[in-house]
């Protein structure tokens, strides 16, 4: 596998090319499945963690980091970098696997996840982990922080774009809507939200707990440009980010419909895998399934 390491580009407003080749798509899809193996292994070795959300959104996350985000793993604090804020911090195994693959830290570190002394905390911690921009764990706080970063970038005339990944359950909090109203008020077109729309939450299927629909209409009503995509269709995901970049005068949101637990049959669409660690048998089965998928690409 030959994944292109992301490289910073100083001049373009975003490093996203306008379209991906068939080879790009195949490579990204395969990369996302490799990362799924890392996620399952991390949670297995840690004996705890949250695999469902991370497996669901890895096609989106990997496409973003590998082909859209302007960042430099060798210079994580590069002032002109784009920012990625993980608002649903419990899904951090996905982000950690991506950051390791990009070269922010060695892949072996992933196996220390959640252990005493590890820089990979149970929920994202900016002080501990290179490449992690904020501190997650309490839902609803990310969009406001992204908004602050977007305001700072505009004040300083930087090309920075800010991406904030939120969960669907998180939309049940009040604060995302405070931030959504504010970002539209300040016309922050350098701010892009992403909804990890997997329709599960801890206590059960989202519609049974507290329905958030019509979500696209809600964001439209708040003054956002809305894109709805299949969160496993890499070409569509990439296209949505390209179109977001071209929007002027308002923030954008990509609602990515995903299957939680994607790639591991017994985890898919089962809210019980929001968190939990596989047994040794389940772990072997998960790895076999993911390997089979990778061979098929």
């Amino acid at each position: 596998m030959n994944l292109r390491a992301p490289q910073p580009v100083d001049t373009a407003p975003s490093r996203a090319a306008d379209a991906l080749s068939a080879e790009d798509i195949r490579e990204l899809r395969r990369g996302a499945y490799e990362l799924r193996k890392d996620v399952v292994t991390m949670v297995y070795k840690a004996k705890s963690g949250h695999p469902g959300g991370a497996l669901g959104h890895l096609d989106v996350l990997w496409t973003l980091f590998a082909r859209v985000l302007r960042h430099d793993p060798k210079n994580p604090k590069w002032p002109d970098r784009d920012r990625f804020v993980l608002s649903n911090g419990h899904t951090c195994p996905g982000l950690y696997s991506v950051l390791a693959r990009c070269g922010y830290f060695p892949r072996e570190d992933l196996w220390t996840f959640r252990k005493l002394g590890s820089h990979l905390q149970g929920h994202t911690s900016s002080k501990h982990t290179p490449g992690v921009e904020t501190d997650g764990g309490s839902l609803g706080l990310g969009l406001s922080q992204g908004k602050g970063m977007a305001l700072a970038a505009r004040l300083d005339g930087r090309p920075t774009r800010v991406y904030v990944l939120m969960s669907d359950g998180e939309q049940q909090e009040g604060q995302p809507w405070e931030a959504a109203m504010g970002a539209a008020h300040f016309k922050l077109d350098n701010l892009c939200g992403i909804i990890d729309y997997n329709r599960i939450q801890i206590d059960g299927p989202l519609p049974k707990i507290k329905e958030i629909e019509p979500l696209a209409d809600k964001y439209r009503a708040f003054g956002w440009e809305v894109f709805e995509v299949d969160g496993h269709d890499i070409a569509r995901i990439h296209d949505a980010f390209v179109r977001c970049r071209k929007v002027r005068g308002r923030p954008q949101i990509v609602i990515a419909r995903v299957i939680p637990g994607r790639g591991v049959s017994f985890m898919e669409n089962d809210y019980k895998w929001h968190h939990g660690s596989p047994t040794p048998d389940q772990y072997s089965k998960a790895m076999e399934e993911l390997d089979a998928a990778i061979r098929s690409f």
Partner: protein, 320 residues
């Protein structure tokens, strides 16, 4: 120390804050100011008029206020986030914890309308728990300036403190009494009046009545030392220890609930350095109520006369 006691001059600490922000804004381009629809009251509007591009009114959204400040701080700005103490320290406490204190960001949280002297608006607006909430956060600096002059110094003097800072301000006009030579030093108490029989350790707008109470005690031959403990965290433990060693007994004064504020901070320092009897003049585990600021200061026992009476009773009960 040449104190103006009694003082014939009064000023709002929040006016001093607004003016200090404008002064800072001219010197420091990285200073930005945020408010949640109370900029006319907190006086951040003074900065907003001078530097509109660096002023963000986020609307009635205190959670959003603190997290937006966090995002700005992460991008190299020095944000000052203001609203009323009850909404900032109360409603948005968890945002301060997760997005400001945990990453140790350089956000200055300056909240006004703390204490019973909010007055007529009543208990809902009279924040009496903010010092406990802010002291409990790891790495948070906590400051309660005694008058408008010290407010200016505290704001200007903490701009470069590496972690988060909380500064507590009042709604009402308070006496300006500290001498021109007064110098705010972070983490250091100042002896405003020396004495050997008892120490009155006060913060905020109770420092002034403590000085007047010391005058009243003097008439009975009681020599009271008065300390301005404007930094609650980190606390000046050496000053507390010296009070215990040199005056024996301690009275603390704060416009805050008796739990979690100055009294408990001083009590711990005493127990750990030089145990001595302590009497806490504070709000006795209850909520406030409507009234004028002056009526409420009297109602809660914060007038010079009542402070002197309480101190006499305490000294009688704990003979040297």
């Amino acid at each position: 120390m040449q104190l103006s006691v009694p003082s014939d001059r009064q000023a709002f600490t929040r006016d001093a804050y607004g003016d200090a922000l404008a002064e800072l804004g001219a010197r420091r381009p990285e200073v930005v100011v945020l408010d949640a629809d109370l900029s006319g009251s907190t006086k951040t509007s003074v900065f907003g008029k001078k530097f509109p591009e660096r002023f963000f009114n986020v609307g009635v959204s205190e959670a959003d206020l603190m997290c937006t400040a966090s995002g700005l701080a992460r991008s190299g700005k020095i944000p000052y986030a203001s609203t009323f103490a009850v909404f900032g320290a109360g409603k948005a406490w968890e945002m301060i914890r997760q997005a400001i204190a945990y990453p140790g960001l350089r956000v200055r949280i300056v909240l006004s309308h703390a204490g019973v002297t909010v007055g007529e608006d009543g208990a809902s607006h009279q924040m009496l728990e903010d010092l406990a909430l802010m002291r409990a956060l790891p790495g948070m600096t906590v400051i309660v300036p005694a008058d408008a002059a010290e407010t200016r110094q505290a704001v200007l003097g903490t701009v470069d403190v590496p972690g988060p800072v909380y500064i507590r301000l009042s709604r009402n006009k308070t006496p300006v009494f500290l001498p021109d030579s007064y110098e705010f030093r972070l983490g250091r108490a100042t002896v405003l009046r020396d004495g050997s029989d008892v120490s009155l350790i006060a913060c905020g707008q109770l420092v002034y009545p403590a000085l007047l109470a010391a005058d009243l005690l003097q008439r009975d031959g009681i020599r009271a030392r008065v300390l301005n403990m404007s930094t609650l965290k980190p606390l000046d433990r050496e000053a507390v220890q010296a009070c215990a060693q040199e005056t024996g007994r301690i009275v603390t004064l704060e416009e805050h609930n008796i739990y979690g504020g100055l009294a408990e901070a001083v009590a711990r320092a005493l127990v750990e350095t030089h145990p001595a009897p302590l009497h806490a003049i504070a709000v006795q585990d209850r909520f406030g109520l409507s009234g004028t600021a002056d009526e409420l200061l009297d109602y809660f026992g914060f007038t010079p006369q009542k402070i002197a009476d309480e101190t006499r009773k305490f000294l009688k009960a704990t003979p040297a």
